[in-house]
Symmetry: C2
Subunit: 639 residues, 2 copies
Amino acid sequence: MTRTRPVARLRPLGLDEVAITGGFWGHRQHVNATATLAHIEGWLEREGWLGNFDLAAAGRLPEGRRGREFSDSEVYKLLEAMAWEIGRAGDPGLDDRFRAIVARVAAAQEPDGYLGTVFGRPGQAPRWSALEWGHELYCLGHLFQAAAARATTRPDADDGLLGAARRAADLVCEVFGPDGRAAVCGHAEIEPAMVALARVTGERRYLDQAALFVDRRGHGLLPDIEFGRAYYQDDVPVREATVLRGHAVRAGYLSAGAVDVAVERGDDELLAALARQWENTVARRTYLTGGQGSHHQDEAFGQDWALPPDRAYSETCAGVGSIMFSWRLLLATGRPQHADLVERTLFNVVATSPSEAGTAFFYTNTLHQRVPGTPARDDEVSPRAASSLRAPWFAVSCCPPNVARTLAGLAGYVATADDDGVQLHLYAPATVRTTLPDGRRVAFDVETGYPRSGTVAVRVRDGAADPWTLTLRVPAWAEGARLRVLPADGPPTEEDVEPGTATVRRAFADGDVVELHLPVTPRFTAADPRIDAVRGCLAVERGPEVLCLESVDLAAATGGRLDDVVDVGVDPTVPPREVDGAVVVRLRPAVAPDGSWPYGPPPGRDGTGDGVDVPLVAYHDWAERGPSTMRVWMPVVRG
Amino acid sequence: MTRTRPVARLRPLGLDEVAITGGFWGHRQHVNATATLAHIEGWLEREGWLGNFDLAAAGRLPEGRRGREFSDSEVYKLLEAMAWEIGRAGDPGLDDRFRAIVARVAAAQEPDGYLGTVFGRPGQAPRWSALEWGHELYCLGHLFQAAAARATTRPDADDGLLGAARRAADLVCEVFGPDGRAAVCGHAEIEPAMVALARVTGERRYLDQAALFVDRRGHGLLPDIEFGRAYYQDDVPVREATVLRGHAVRAGYLSAGAVDVAVERGDDELLAALARQWENTVARRTYLTGGQGSHHQDEAFGQDWALPPDRAYSETCAGVGSIMFSWRLLLATGRPQHADLVERTLFNVVATSPSEAGTAFFYTNTLHQRVPGTPARDDEVSPRAASSLRAPWFAVSCCPPNVARTLAGLAGYVATADDDGVQLHLYAPATVRTTLPDGRRVAFDVETGYPRSGTVAVRVRDGAADPWTLTLRVPAWAEGARLRVLPADGPPTEEDVEPGTATVRRAFADGDVVELHLPVTPRFTAADPRIDAVRGCLAVERGPEVLCLESVDLAAATGGRLDDVVDVGVDPTVPPREVDGAVVVRLRPAVAPDGSWPYGPPPGRDGTGDGVDVPLVAYHDWAERGPSTMRVWMPVVRG
């Protein structure tokens, strides 16, 4: 593909170059592969969302069609997840299942390339007639991303998916190209997807089409709706916006696609606009967990500083969208803060959604549960955000396959390369094997118990005659980090490293070890006072993990005397500390006026009684022990 | 009407017995009469909601019908407002307009009594086929309340409104009676309305029908919806519920009707259940302003303690519904806390909605405006909650006529009577003339500059041979109140009175004066610490009024140095005080970390720089000076 002037600083590595071999994320990938994918496939069959393609192929639609207008996309996201998983682990049984689904999808494709089960047939609305809510291009976007993932991990597969995607993409270019309808989809996704397809096929016009969609948005081509055009980012052109707004998933997907376009076209102005939007969004509209979107009503960003923990929507899919955006900015700019947010969001949003078993999910991710939820039934479709407990499936079930595709392809986020070396962004037991543009071979293993341990060891597996540069991300929270270099045949050296990145450039020999020591002592965290909703509170973090207080632990620690997190606050004079492997804080009953009207003269004190030590749990592990109340931000009380 | 055993402690007084003669509320009533009523009538014509009745009468519906499914109700609410206003001021021109609208409405009534423009015609859904969202009985309820208001203030009017209401009510009894459809309306309103109609007509079966509707609710007769059956209070039977929940307007209207039913039927169990719900709702789910409903998504109550000021929905109509509920509990129980909430809600929700000119309205009433809003255009219909500025009309325009009917009939909330005297609940310049059941004549004037002044003088105008009891409400905030009795012909006496009620029983002589002195010094108010969203904040109140900080005043006081209320906090060591008639607080710039990530180690201090004195304004007066940011709850900062 002809590029004007690609501006990306870093090159992503493929699943043939990086593998996660264990640890926190290795375990998550294993659960995803062995439980989640089959779980999703089963529900897609059960709910008829896969069957819709069979009905389409048989010419029987619209009668009998099931699911919402975007249900096709869940099938495509499952295909993408399977494609990454096949690339990761190469399971032939999974490959058979993948091909079987592709066959059913492809059978529904129409001669002109159109693919979709909702529009265009007698008895259905015409194609492209409801761009604001129809999700028609959105669904095709997910088809294209599945095809791109497959083409990346199995370039020689003859399953027909890439061909189907290309035919559909050609149709999109024909209908919506420069001489076609000047329109965009209400839900961004076609934008990054067409760039992905352009990259695997070399088709320049897919990129141009993506650029057209990006440039068109923000000019009011979509109708005004109750939530305003900001809901689908059609209020301000992408290159003029200063912050993300509106529906958080849409905002993330659009921004990711726009970075792709900027990078491929060497559009520095567009890239700078997106970087500015990212900065402002992260500084003012992002939860401690990395979660984004504080409105239930429209699943949208709130205004600056409006980040209520209890009504946090923090949709799982918005976390995925945020990672897509941040990752692309990281590739484009090399700035480690983008990787910081990727890591934070992975640990505290993406890892929070699925249950330990991988068969139930949070659609939204509240930071404060006020009322113990009702357990979702294993065999029932849940509303999106009704319960504090994870549910197996939702009427709108975008999160399960979105989590699955992210986990299956996660090794792709571990490391990147540039002309002179390799950059490690996520810390997990891993193998990295790649070749730099000039032919230098880079091979090392990562050995770590991160995030439980703060020590990350990079063990070089293949000496190179020429030096290369190993770059290690030092997270922003890691004040006091140290870097040790332990050559296979020489004395070790050690130095302090500042948050940002640490680099070691040398002619690495087989057996050389570089060790990064990150301080993962638990710490109190406060919020910018402009975030009104958590004023006077502290959270506790440990490494990249946000912790939380669950009522089940409060009840256990107080012998049942206190069983609701609303009743206590945290003693700020006793730092959080580890006791028998658990992070513990000192809590104390909060003074609560016992009145019929909750407002009155300022009280003299806020805490009462003796403190009690209560263990916290990692936020991603909450709600695994039945209904509970929970809070990430604990009010400060003094004795 | 036969009553089993009415349990009401207090008797409401009619507009022929109480009149507001000036002051804060007298001015509001004047604006309502001279500007608001015509404004509403004009918009009802312009938007075609009145014209819908003409189309119905001409047999031309459904073509050309305009407005939402509940637009009929706005016409009825205007009629109710006009009926009260005619009763209040007796304007004959208004009576002509009233009759003209009644004629258009009545012309649309069908032979069997059905009245409505949305259902039942060819091309429309069948009658009563969409009870969950159709608002069919809700609309009729407002018709009945208009008819009841008219029958109360003009019992001899021959305009046909009461007859039309009775025919429709008879149809409702036939369709939904004991042998009819066991159903309820998704939006409560028919319940209090049928009791009101029963009271003016003496028709027992209207009361029985209201009781049936109340008893049926909470048994899942309405379908489950995304928001759950709690949205329309169909989740728990009224007599089993412990707190208000779901859509706040529906909850208020239903509760009001249920109190009516309980009182008329002597149903102590039901009354106790409602009193309990009121207590819990006021203690845990009510804003400082009296506003109720913290969710934008479903216009609903949040969970206990979930009262974010910035996402406060606090719908104007929910304030009206809350007043309806509280007022009925006051009548039933005589407890002054119900009148306290009525007054609080009147001053801080109902009075906040309309502009000074009475021609623009807040639909919702946020307690914290983060971003200056866009002025609404005088000639444009606004979405419900999009702007921080009042708008002339909304797509859903329930608030203008709801405010209008409340203000027009407001004298009815000033005082009540029982067997031995009169109780004053609201303080305004007023005349009270009534006769006790045994024939004792009570006549007095109220002279006061309340709420600006805390002195309320009751001047007896008609001596009575026999003693009677004057009861004065002492608001809960009025610690240190004093009561003086100044007989026309004797020495004055004076005593401390506690919040609750103060009574004077004597054989009053013409010219006797009873003076209540309420301390209206401005005061700091803190919130129960379980209300997380305003932790570490103080509000300022003065008498019954909640005050707020507007950016326009901050900018003026700092010479433009600070122009956003997000930048400052309040010095808690300097009490609010009055300077040149304005309440002033000491503000200080808040320390705001200047970083790209808004979370980090706890800072050492929260305030910086010198304090500056800034005037506050009454919350009901905010947003009268153009776009601004605003907050009721100010963060505490120390220097």
